[in-house]
């Protein structure tokens, strides 16, 4: 399929020996000047890039307690070295979380600490040379910002924060990544990552209504820009288009329909994803999120519900109140924002949805915890609700559920390999190799329990798995949306 080897799945997981430089060639396409301009960065490498980068780094550290603390306190204990899926899949030591941090920490030390200024060799301080700049570009784009390392570090050092800062410094000197910055430009201009304009969105959803009517005989609505609707649904734009995402959207529609909740999407804010987080850009983060507040006010909704997307849920759950809150204009009876799984779970618990479990009997299901849901947010009213709620939903709507090995689920979950702004074809080798630890755990439940369905609640995970499953000899159709499984079990029509 491509000029690299898909990692071999061994009988038991193994911590590999280091292969220095194994992935040094991996680099995503550079952003073009107009991509850069659309997100407010210089179009190409600035002349005095060294000084600009050092100044930017100092500024970022001075504004973030996380960076300030993380850059000082790593003791190089090595506890994180075998926790990153990219290290396990590529064996490149710079993909060990602490080594990735050190690419930035070394430069920080050189310019901002006593020891690094006067004894650089002793403490591993490095100059920001062209070579180091290339390493930054390469290895900060080999981190999916999944935060697995931060679970296992004795001080909670989060390499995601480091790679976000690294990418922001690179953006500031004109070395941006095409995939993220081009997509962000589209959100700013059109309102979603796909660049799908309003009329096309309305068309697509009308078509979807017809398809569902044909399938089920029921008029399930998929409204756009409906003023006065109770719920504004903010979902990743992939849900409007591609398999297996769209099956999830159909599921949301059926849930709303059966529960009698009026809802709408907005053509102005037709995107849950916010790639600004991946590049660490606060301005873009806020600007992208603000569309959603504006749309909610404009449409006069009472609730905002977020569809299946990992990093979007992190931004919504953890950052929205900070960035675009307070949500005092919404109905205080519901959490703001609310995850679609929280909504469905409540309805199921109340018996508000009629379920035919047998409709899913052909499925033998396992669930992939998406990083940003698992380690950077929550659902429900207790810690860990983000693990319980999706599983409870699945067990309520289907008979055959099997969890993967405990060290690979919940907060220990392995990234799909495509998160953090790496879901681009120019990083295919990295994505396939980074998927290895998840594929290893998956293989076990396939072998032991005949699992044939991998359920996820993240648009990035779904796309990544659809692409990488075949490399590991599984069918790409194995991956589907949680609300696809829900939708298939919902009995439409009157309640008894």
């Amino acid at each position: 399929m491509a000029d690299f080897q898909t990692p071999e799945i061994r009988e038991y997981p193994l911590i590999p020996h280091i292969k220095p430089g194994a992935m040094a060639h991996s680099k995503p396409y550079l952003a073009k000047p107009d991509h850069q301009a659309s997100v407010g960065f210089p179009g190409e490498l600035v002349e005095n890039w060294h000084d600009v980068a050092v100044a930017k780094l100092g500024e970022l550290v001075s504004k973030s307690r996380a960076l300030q603390v993380f850059l000082d306190i790593c003791v190089k204990c090595g506890a994180c070295t075998d926790k990153c899926h990219y290290y396990l899949g590529t064996e490149d030591p710079n993909n060990m979380p602490v080594a990735r941090q050190d690419l930035l920490r070394g430069v920080y030390r050189r310019h901002f600490t006593f020891a690094g200024k006067y004894f650089p060799k002793l403490v591993g301080a490095i100059d920001f040379t062209e070579e180091v700049r290339d390493q930054w570009y390469s290895y900060f784009h080999q981190c999916s910002q999944c935060r697995r390392c931060s679970v296992f570090c004795p001080y909670g050092i989060d390499t995601a924060e480091i790679s976000m800062a690294g990418r922001e410094v690179l953006d500031a000197i004109g070395v941006g990544q095409k995939y993220c910055n081009e997509i962000l430009g589209k959100v700013h201009k059109v309102g979603n990552n796909l660049g799908l304009p309003g009329p096309a969105l309305i068309d697509t959803l009308e078509g979807l209504e017809e398809d569902v009517k044909e399938d089920t005989g029921v008029d399930v609505r998929f409204p756009v820009n409906q003023k006065g609707a109770e719920v504004l649904l903010i979902t990743p734009s992939a849900d409007f288009f591609a398999e297996p995402h769209i099956d999830g959207l159909i599921g949301y529609g059926k849930v709303f329909h059966q529960a009698g909740i009026s809802w709408t999407v907005s053509s102005y804010a037709s995107e849950a994803a916010n790639f600004s987080m991946f590049i660490g850009s606060h301005d873009n983060l806020k600007r992208t999120a603000m569309r959603i507040r504006e749309a909610a006010l404009e449409l006069g909704v009472k609730r905002i519900v977020v569809g299946e997307c990992g990093h979007a849920w992190r931004v919504a759950y953890s950052f929205w109140n900070t960035l675009i809150g307070p949500f005092d204009f919404l109905d205080p009876k519901y959490p703001a924002p609310q995850h679609i799984c929280e909504l469905t779970y409540d309805l199921l618990k109340r018996g508000a949805l009629k379920i035919d479990k047998e409709a899913n009997d052909h499925r033998r299901i396992t669930f992939h915890d998406s990083c940003n849901v698992a380690r950077a947010s929550r659902m429900g009213n207790m810690p860990g609700g983000q693990f319980i709620i999706p599983r409870e939903i699945l067990k309520t709507v289907a008979n055959n559920f099997f969890d993967m090995a405990p060290e690979t689920i919940h907060e220990n979950t392995f990234c799909c390999g495509g998160g953090g702004g790496l879901l681009t074809d120019d990083l295919m080798e990295l994505r396939v190799k980074g998927a290895m630890p998840r594929m290893q755990a998956l293989k076990q439940v396939v072998d032991d329990n005949d699992v044939n369905t991998l359920v996820a609640i993240c648009a990035i995970c779904k796309t990544q798995f659809a692409k990488t499953l075949p490399y590991y000899k599984h069918s790409m159709n194995m991956i589907t949306s949680l609300h696809h499984v829900v939708g298939d079990a919902i009995v439409l029509g009157g309640k008894d």
Partner: protein, 238 residues
Amino acid sequence: MSLSVIYALLFYAATLVLVIGVARKIAIYSKTPQPLKIPTTPAPLTTSGVVWRMAKEVAVFQSLFKSNKWIWLFGWLFHVALALVLMRHLRYVTEPVWFWVNWVQPFGKYAGFAMLAGLGGLWLRRIVVDRVRYISSPSDHLMLLLLMAIAVSGLAMKYVDHTDIVALKGFMLGLMYFDWQPLPGNPLLITHLSLVLLLMFIFPISKLLHAPGLFFSPTRNQTDNPREVRHVAGWSAK
């Protein structure tokens, strides 16, 4: 200048560097804003929950235990032993000796060996495990060597070549009450004290800052309540 005077002055200087250096760092950590909520979840929903999470991290190294049993074993052994040894050393600077310091005394004696064992284990890993070797700078090796040298010189005074403890205590108390007394010239003691002084000097500019820093780590010390309480700080407050 006599040896006693030099060491007296060095002790004052080292204490100042340690206290001011660490206080300065703590001031920087506390005044740097954390603009967004980034606790590593599942995280406690309340402040008392956070205190409990932190207490477990500090007392039993909970995350490290989950992460790697060998590093946990060596690291925890070293830190607990170090705590005991430090408590035992209080007898050299208190008069009368606090009652509980006497309770620690019998454990403190063996803790020196446990400390050395923990440090040795950590250093062995640093050399033998290729991943840890890769991420180690010279300073990471030297830090372990420094701590081991402190432990060895201390143990040697206990078990090989006794030093005049009464005179040493006189010197230490003299420092504290600005009534300088002579320092015994035992070479082992001088070595031990010199290494400790060095450690005090480099504490605020080294990774030893993990001790105060841990308490400021936002991924561990934030409550998970962003929907309930609007969090703003730094740029996000503007």
